[in-house]
């Protein structure tokens, strides 16, 4: 898909389910217990959003309570620390979607 980077954190969380309990490690957890979760943060360009959502749901859905939620939020700016690039140039990564779809040219044009 052209995703070349992601940040993953181990977190704890719960989501009140209106009565149904979430199962974790064989036991049921009610609303006031924190359950171990994984948080993934991916920054993409706007036109990739729907594709990524579909892919995440496809692969991660189990149908059980605890599958989680996807929050889509806008990103004000992207700056690459190493070079100081901002915006689209900073978002681009080698081997990513822009490289996959651009024809031949190795320059920054194409998109």
């Amino acid at each position: 898909m052209g995703i070349r980077g992601i940040t993953v954190s181990d977190v704890r969380g719960f989501g009140a389910q209106g009565g149904s309990a979430e199962r974790q490690a064989g036991s049921e957890f009610s609303e006031d217990n924190f359950v171990v979760k994984v948080k993934m943060e991916i920054v993409v360009s706007k036109d990739q959003v729907e594709e990524i959502i579909a892919k995440i749901i496809d692969e991660a859905r189990t149908g059980e309570i605890g599958d989680g939620k996807i929050f889509v939020s806008p990103v004000a700016d992207i700056i690459r620390v190493r070079t100081g690039e901002r915006g689209e140039k900073a978002e681009r990564m080698t081997g990513g979607r822009s490289d996959m779809f651009s024809v031949g040219s190795s320059s920054t044009g194409a998109r």
Binding site: A25, G26, T62, G63
Partner: protein
């Protein structure tokens, strides 16, 4: 089974089954090397060897070479699963037939010897009915599910924990393993609550929590826990728990590598009427689609649900295998082909 590629749907070749029986044969022999080098043994050694009870090996069926080749092929699987916990739910035909029971137990002891950590969970429907009969208690069924009133629950608890459990423990001990028989009640291993339809079905429970603390020392020391699927609630009232569910939640609590359910069918069939259409490997997405399409029905659905719940809680792979096959456990764990359907996350 290695979950590397999606295997095309194909029927198990006869060679596989043969292979496994010869593989098993090599383990039944106590001293294979001695048998094949008679010239090297001195007189005194020979007489002491004769006093060892060595079961007869049919040398014509499998040469020593074949046997050790097969053994050596199992290495990658043994390496992959060594030290990992595997929860096996035992039931159905494999429980009723003496020969199959002996083969399952031999498999369990073998796997335990090579370093896999097996946890054995069992139910015991047919035995319960037998004993209810002996005590002149009529078994009641509602829509195919047993109604467990107070007197029935007493019998269920006695038969599962007192008879079936200890019988299995004794058989495993006889085969050379060290088994310890427990129920969900012991050490608060499984805590129950009445299931939503308990007003109609009586003392049937759902699992509230699993606390594997009590069996960890057993597993770590290469002992085999044998768990009967009876649990108590916080007031001490015993409940009958579905053995598949108990196995699934236990696997989740232990962070098991595999959950294996022994059943009386070949596995999940793509086409119910075609026994050759066994689905060897499928993921949660695929199996949910099959349920939606109606390809999985009846008693298979709760088993599949139990597998999905375990996978959602972190068990690496779950398998529904054919308990009617001899050495089905070895086939599933130590070969690529397996003995049924593997559902992965």
């Amino acid at each position: 089974m290695l979950a590397a590629n999606i295997h095309p749907i194909s029927s198990p070749s006869p060679a596989v089954v043969e292979k496994s029986s010869s593989f098993a044969l090599s383990w039944h022999t106590a001293a294979p090397l001695a048998k094949f080098k008679p010239n090297r043994i001195s007189t005194s050694l020979k007489s002491s060897l004769q006093s060892i009870a060595v079961p007869e090996v049919d040398k014509d069926a499998t040469s020593a070479q074949t046997r050790v080749e097969i053994l050596s092929e199992a290495l990658p699987f043994i390496q992959k699963f060594r030290g990992k916990t595997i929860v096996v739910k035992y039931g159905g035909a494999a429980m009723k037939s003496e020969a199959l029971r002996a083969s399952v137990i031999a498999d369990v002891v073998l796997l335990s010897c090579v370093g896999l950590r097996i946890v054995f969970v069992h139910g015991g429907g047919p035995e319960i009915n037998q004993w209810l009969g002996k005590l002149n208690i009529e078994p009641n069924f509602l829509n195919g599910l047993r109604v467990t009133d107070a007197s029935t629950m007493e019998i269920v608890s006695m038969v599962l924990v007192g008879k079936v459990n200890k019988q299995l423990v004794a058989l495993i001990n006889k085969a050379g393993g060290t088994a310890v028989g427990l129920s969900g009640i012991d050490g608060r291993l499984l805590m129950a609550r009445p299931s939503p339809n308990s007003s109609q079905l009586g003392f049937v429970g759902d699992i509230v929590s699993v606390d594997p603390t009590i069996i960890r020392p057993l597993i770590d020391n290469n002992h085999l826990p044998v768990i009967a699927s009876v649990a108590a609630d916080s007031t001490g009232q015993a409940y009958n728990i579905n053995a598949d569910t108990a196995a699934g939640e236990l696997a989740a609590a232990l962070g098991a590598e595999k959950l294996i359910l022994l059943t009386d069918v070949a596995g999940i069939l793509e086409d119910r009427n075609d026994p050759e259409s066994l689905v060897r490997e499928i993921d949660i997405k695929g199996v949910k689609k099959m349920i939606r399409d109606g390809k999985i029905a009846g008693g298979m659905i709760p088993k599949v649900d139990c597998c999905v719940r375990s996978l959602a809680q972190g068990v690496r792979t779950t398998s529904i295998i054919d308990g009617r096959l001899k050495h089905s456990l070895l086939l599933e764990i130590l070969t690529d082909e397996g003995a049924g359907t593997m559902i992965t996350g």
